[in-house]
């Protein structure tokens, strides 16, 4: 499974590395310090219109 100059078997490894890295980074992102307040505010957005009717 190789062509001159390219070892195609390297691609699955690179792919796995990229996917795992992106997943871990996204976890770091969503659990970043101080994010709880933001998420709590945002998750309550559906209820803000309940009090807005004049």
């Amino acid at each position: 499974m190789s062509q001159p100059g390219i070892d195609l078997l390297i691609f699955p490894k690179i792919g796995l590395l990229i996917f795992v890295s992106v997943f871990l980074l996204s976890l770091v992102w969503i659990y970043r310090r101080g994010s709880s307040k933001t998420y709590e505010e945002t998750s309550n957005l559906p209820f803000e219109d309940d009090a807005g009717t004049p």
Binding site: F23, I30, Y31, R32, P54
Partner: protein, 729 residues
């Protein structure tokens, strides 16, 4: 565009609820129509006589109308209703433009009407869920752009900085559906209502199922996840269980879903590497799907007792549960060894309807039962009717999917069964059809129950609206308009002021989250990776589809016959793809190869075998066999459930576009010479006369059959597989 008025630092804004109400009614109308057509075609499968010998209501022509009406009529209108209702309230702004909103509404309904006016007449591209012809494709593109501009415009004039996760799902749906539709609908017109796919064979198959699977993902899943994340918290009165999990759910789902399409083509002539990618990503898809399901269900923590009384919660909770079941079953069926049993059988139909009726249908009705009293400022006419609707529909789904599981697995095992001396235990395909026929009645019963629930729901909504005061747009007090700054300024500010407030990553998140256009571009990038990696090599690396020297383009008459095959929707019941299994080799012949369908624009591999595979039907029977079979299949096989096609024996072949068809195909790479095109009519008529003479010799059929449609269809069927014919031992 609506202009708000200033009042004590707060603005008064009225939401455009009128267009939302119109979309709501369109959802109900198309839900009724689409599912009624579903009942009719289920009846036709249970008893062929229901086809009535009328071309326009025959199964092959009505089945695409059913799928188009429920997907683009019912589900899309439900999405538009919920998206317009929830987004205005989440961003505290009226829809960007009233004019665009109404163009969106009327334009979309016109598209569904045009589907109803073309598909029963056999005007179809034969690509599943993308059957509409090129002028309607263009209209879909234009109206979708109107929707996108109106939606993104609403986000740009919003009065809330944060963009709630439901809107992320809606946005991803909007951009991805646009990309899917444009790429898959690339076609070359022959006439006003006839075109050929730009792609052929294996390439067309890959792109079609990249589209088809992601239509499930981005028309029938992500919009409804957006609805789940808004309406379950609203109905239960508490925020989503984990907002963090919803973010992981969003990015992982849209990134992974796009890769899974090739699982629709396992064991076909699609390159192996693409099949493997499709399988692996389908299995990985389990994780985000179940993450989302768990997040939806856990939102009810501490409030489960309310499900007993509230029909809205009943529909939403059962809908999410069906989502969990379907997204477990889907990856399971994508595993190649399981797919070897499930593919081409009713198991797939059962799986689709567990998602469509259970997930899409129940989430839609849960949201509608929530929105109708709000939009009409009154109480629901009857809570007990709504509860009855839920239970009838639930029992209906159980009948439907259980019957299809049994039917699918029974047929697959019968088809695969071989005797100890290596022969087929059930060599005649129709024996397996006769065995599963009772389940077709059971499926019909399930469909009737589900449909009855819908009728009850529509009457309930109607009575609710009748008792309501004159509907008005909801008016609210909202903060001043949020003015987004330039992305470059935001990024500079984010990196400069790290020391002042929050971490760099925290500030970058705010930048991303407050920029709908950036969010849209990133979503497009997420779906773009898988799309490019799967599609580009198949299109441009010649080794993926090696040519076979003996495979030649169709003759003019065969091409006309192929278009009749497409017009009658034969692909809805017959595949043209022999898989590399012993039973298929014994029953049909050698496995299909990619090079065999290089001139097939569009491909005709099919997705369901209600009847046997036709890839190698050519020269298997005499011409008279096909003539009698199309006139009445029971003359050939007494247990057949195939409809009759007597009009093919009576209608004159319309050959006015034969040369234009060859010309169009030449433009997309089929190696016709100019002399083939110039003499297309002569060749067509000569071959038709040869077939008429054979029919006359074999069964005394009048020579006048030469100019009838049946000769063209016979020419096509007799050609199938003959270029690479390998004798079956």
């Amino acid at each position: 565009m609506h202009e708000p008025t200033q009042q004590n630092h707060l603005d008064k804004v009225s939401y455009n609820d009128k267009v939302t109400r119109y979309f709501l009614w369109a959802t109900l109308v198309w839900g009724f129509v689409g599912m009624l057509v579903g009942i009719i075609i289920a009846s036709e499968l249970a008893n062929w006589r229901v086809n009535l010998g009328i071309p326009e209501i025959t199964f092959g022509r009505l089945r695409p109308l059913h799928t188009n009406a429920v997907i683009f009529g019912f589900a899309c209108n439900a999405f538009f209703t919920a998206a317009y209702y929830s987004t205005q309230r989440l961003v505290k702004a009226r829809l960007y433009s009233d004019v665009l909103s109404w163009i969106h509404f009327w334009g979309w309904q016109a598209i569904i009407v045009s589907a109803a006016l073309t598909l029963p007449f056999g005007i179809t591209t034969a690509k599943e869920y993308a059957e509409l012809e090129w002028p309607i494709d263009i209209a879909i593109t234009l109206i979708w752009v109107v929707f996108a501009v109106n939606y993104v415009g609403t986000l740009l004039v919003r009065r809330e900085k944060h963009i709630y996760v439901s809107i992320w799902f809606y946005l991803a749906s909007i951009v991805t559906v646009a990309a899917l539709h444009i790429v898959n609908s690339a076609e070359i017109p022959v006439s006003f209502l006839k075109s050929y796919s730009l792609y052929s064979g294996a390439q067309d198959a890959l792109i079609q199922w990249w589209y088809g699977h992601n239509a499930v993902a981005f028309v029938l899943t992500t919009p409804f996840l957006g609805m789940m994340y808004y309406f379950i918290p609203k109905a239960v009165g508490r925020p989503v269980y984990s907002y963090r999990l919803s973010i992981v759910h969003f990015w992982s789902l849209i990134f992974i879903y796009i890769w899974a399409g090739p699982h629709h083509l396992h064991y076909t002539a699609l390159p192996q590497w693409a099949q493997s990618l499709g399988m692996v990503f389908s299995v990985v898809l389990w994780m985000p799907s179940w993450g989302g399901m768990i997040n939806g269900l856990l939102t009810l923590r501490g409030a489960w007792d309310r499900v007993r009384q509230d029909p809205v919660l009943k529909f939403l909770v059962a809908g999410v549960t069906f989502y969990g079941m379907s997204t477990f079953e889907g990856p399971l069926m994508a595993i190649k060894s399981v797919n070897a049993i499930s593919h081409y059988t009713d198991w797939t139909i059962g799986h689709v309807h567990s998602g469509a009726l259970g997930w899409v249908g129940f989430i839609s009705f849960g949201c509608l039962y929530w929105m109708v009293p709000k939009l009409y400022r009154t109480k629901l006419h009857s809570v007990s009717w709504a509860t009855t609707h839920f239970w009838i529909a639930t029992i209906g789904i159980v009948f439907y999917i259980v019957s299809m599981w049994i039917s699918g697995i029974t047929q697959a095992l019968m088809l695969q069964a071989v005797t100890t001396d290596g022969k087929l235990l059930y060599p005649d395909f129709v024996e397996t059809v006769a065995a599963i026929e009772p389940y077709y009645y059971m499926r019909l019963l399930g469909g009737l129950l589900y449909f009855s629930g819908i009728v009850l729901g529509i009457v309930n909504f109607w009575k609710t609206m009748r008792s309501a005061p004159a509907p008005q747009d909801e008016t609210v007090l909202v903060p001043a308009r949020f003015k987004p700054s330039k992305l470059t300024d935001d990024l500079a500010h984010a990196t400069e002021s790290v020391a002042d407030s929050g971490t760099l990553i925290d500030r970058l998140h705010h930048v991303l989250e407050s920029k709908p256009v950036v969010l849209t571009v990133l979503s497009l990038a997420a779906i773009g990776v898988g799309s490019v990696i799967e599609i580009v090599p198949t299109l441009f690396i010649r080794d993926n589809v090696p040519l076979i020297a003996t495979v030649k383009p169709y003759t003019p008459l065969e091409l006309e016959g192929r278009d009749l095959y497409i017009r009658e929707g034969c692909y809805n019941c017959h595949s043209q793809m022999v898989r590399p299994f012993k039973d298929e080799y014994l029953r049909y012949g050698a496995p299909s190869r990619p090079g065999e369908s290089v001139y097939d624009h569009p491909f005709q591999w099919g997705s369901k075998r209600t009847g046997p595979d036709l890839a190698r039907i050519g020269s298997k029977y005499p011409d008279l066999w096909h003539y009698r079979h199309m006139r009445n299949p029971r003359d050939i096989s007494s247990k057949s459930i195939m409809p009759i096609f007597p009009w093919l024996l009576e209608n004159k072949l319309d050959g006015s576009h034969t040369a234009a068809k060859l010309q169009a195909l030449k433009k997309v790479g089929v190696p016709y010479q100019q002399e083939d095109i110039d003499s297309a009519s002569v060749h067509r008529d000569r071959q038709a006369l040869e077939i008429a003479k054979r029919l006359n010799e074999q069964g005394g059929v009048s020579l006048t059959v030469a100019d009838k449609e049946i000769t063209a269809l016979i020419a096509y069927l007799q050609r199938l597989g003959t270029d690479t014919k390998v004798s079956v031992p």
